[in-house]
């Protein structure tokens, strides 16, 4: 497998991890976010600064990146998760951009817009694949657990769910923290793959891409999310030669999917639900 193919595999794993995070929040809990690239940025910067400045080994540094994303998400979530519908989405744009701008202006700590070079290339194909598979197994198990049902209940009808005794604000918070953790890890891995990070890598465009991928795969379908994310990464990478038209195709694809199949590739079903022909 050549270096180029290997890079695509790594990118696919990273994008799938981030998309799984967003899928937990948007697909399974029904909270629409447009700022999750900021959590990737937090994870990437935390890991980069810990490994480069403080010489900490990359494995604990990546975990620290994920935990830092959780901390920031908790601080953000406390006040904003009360907002519903479009308002949370708009607030997440504002917060996501604010985090990016802070990283860009905090010259002494992050080196600002010039970016942060010299990160140890710890993200190899093996690490990326192992972390992705590990997280995927955890995710699927978790979605079948009590907490997973809690998320779906608060998505489908939060009023009824809280009447049934679910603490829906807590559920929403748990979903946000979990999704921020995934994105933090994805960001940390991206830093280790590129050896270089820059605030502009985590702008609103990246955030909308994450959400768009989840919708493309199917809201409420984790296998759909992974499939969609992998497909979009492949398309975007193999079309790199005609880079001018790449974004045009991507935009058209978004519109066409929304027009002809708004429920996404798999709808709300998981891929193995199709085998028996039975609808859940």
């Amino acid at each position: 497998m050549g270096g180029y193919q290997e890079g695509i595999v790594i990118l696919m794993c990273i994008n799938c991890i981030a998309a799984m995070g967003v899928s937990i929040l948007t697909g399974f809990t029904g909270i629409f976010t447009l700022g999750h690239a900021a959590y990737m940025a937090v994870g990437a910067y935390t890991t980069a600064i810990l490994t480069v400045r403080y010489g900490i080994d990359w494995i604990p540094a990546i975990i620290a990146g994920g935990l830092m994303a959780i901390l920031i998400a908790w601080l953000i979530g406390l006040p904003t998760l009360k907002l519903t519908g479009d308002y949370y989405a708009i607030a997440s744009i504002g917060l996501g951009e604010a985090i990016r701008l802070i990283l860009e202006n905090w010259q002494s700590f992050t080196r600002g817009a010039r970016g942060f070079p010299g990160i140890e290339p710890y993200t190899t194909r093996e690490t990326a694949v192992i972390i992705f598979i590990g997280l995927a197994i955890i995710t699927f198990n978790f979605l079948d657990s009590r907490l997973g049902r809690e998320l779906r209940a608060s998505r489908d009808d939060s009023a009824a769910a809280s009447l049934m005794g679910f603490n829906t604000p807590h559920t929403r918070m748990k979903a946000l923290l979990l999704s921020a953790f995934y994105c933090g890890i994805a960001g940390a891995l991206l830093g280790g793959y590129m050896s270089f990070i820059q605030p502009s890598m985590f702008d609103m465009m990246k955030s909308t891409e994450l959400t768009a991928v989840v919708v493309f795969g199917g809201l409420g379908s984790m296998s759909g999310t992974i499939l969609g994310s992998a497909a979009i990464t492949l398309i975007m990478e193999y079309f790199r030669d005609i880079s001018q038209y790449r974004m045009l195709i991507y935009g058209l694809l978004l519109v066409i999917i929304m027009v002809f199949r708004p429920e996404g590739l798999l709808g709300s079903r998981e891929i193995w639900d199709f085998k028996g022909g039975e609808n859940k």
């Binding site: 708009i90 919708v215 038209y245 045009l248 027009v259």
Partner: protein
């Protein structure tokens, strides 16, 4: 004082964009992210009518407004209408509108290239006045005056005409308005046309103030924020929010640092959402059960 004038003039440009955006939101209850695309269409149409075909300023601008309005209608027909007919989830419209925005932006990247273009210097009078120690540039004044004219026209249109009445009715409840004999399809096209025209006016001013490039539409993020601060779907709210935003931006740039201005804008948005999510003039939206 100087900064206040600058802020008001920038705010008035935001207002033109934010009002169009808010108008669409008030009818269809979704955030039309393609609004920035309409703005870019207006800017480029004006540029090419002026420089390539050599029309006069007045004709070029009218053409640009028309082009942008028609683009908005076509977008609605091709992308949003089929989605609206299938589902009531506004999320899909939101994503589709992002897609449309990317398409429009990159159509320009592919066809005319990503390089920065400038409208000819003599598009607007460029004189500078000196009144009581304050320098006023003619373009600032023109953008203020034009914004006032267009917004007043819109106000008259909404309040005095039959179609204005229909739009206001649809903003209350589009389904009932349809049952009462309003041609909803035509009405939505009309709203998109008006929104496109307003975006084009904003686009022309922005391309004079800064310059013209395919990503110019991203400035509508600020107009969205203005609309949210004022209250989504409320037109006076959009105007007030825009002026506040323009002032905040210019005052920050003038007295603190120009790097902080975006940060201030986004903090304003977040603070506003936390204190009063419905904005200054918005009606509180109750969750649909």
């Amino acid at each position: 004082m100087q900064q206040i004038i600058n802020g008001l003039s920038l705010g008035s440009v935001y207002a033109l964009i934010a009002v169009g955006y808010s108008l669409v939101y008030s009818i269809l209850l979704f955030s039309n992210f393609a609004h920035g695309g309409f703005l870019v269409v207006g800017g480029y149409a004006c540029y090419y009518l002026l420089t390539q075909w050599g029309y006069s300023v007045a004709i070029s601008m009218t053409g640009a407004l028309f082009a942008s309005g028609v683009t908005a209608i076509i977008t609605e027909r091709l992308a949003y209408k089929p989605i609206r007919e299938r589902t009531t989830t506004t999320l899909y419209l939101l994503i589709a509108s992002m897609g449309v925005n990317i398409v429009i932006e990159n159509l320009f990247v592919v066809t005319v290239g990503g390089r920065i273009k400038a409208l000819p210097q003599n598009t607007f009078p460029t004189g500078v006045f000196n009144v009581a120690g304050i320098t006023l540039s003619a373009s600032d004044i023109i953008s203020l005056v034009t914004a006032v004219i267009f917004l007043s026209l819109l106000q008259i249109f909404l309040n005095k005409t039959r179609w204005g009445l229909a739009i206001r009715a649809a903003a209350c409840d589009i389904r009932t308005a349809g049952l009462m004999g309003v041609n909803v399809t035509f009405l939505i096209s009309l709203v998109f046309f008006v929104a496109g025209v307003l975006a084009a006016v904003g686009g022309i001013f922005l391309s004079v103030r800064y310059s013209l490039y395919p990503q110019l539409g991203s400035i509508t993020t600020k107009a969205f924020i203005a609309a949210v601060i004022g209250g989504l779907g409320s037109l006076p709210g959009a105007v007030v929010g825009s002026l506040i935003l323009g002032l905040a931006e210019m005052l920050t740039a003038g007295f603190i640092s120009s790097q902080m201005r975006d940060l201030v804008v986004y903090s304003l948005l977040v603070i506003m959402l936390l204190i009063r999510p419905a904005g200054f003039f918005g009606k509180a939206v109750s969750e649909k059960i």
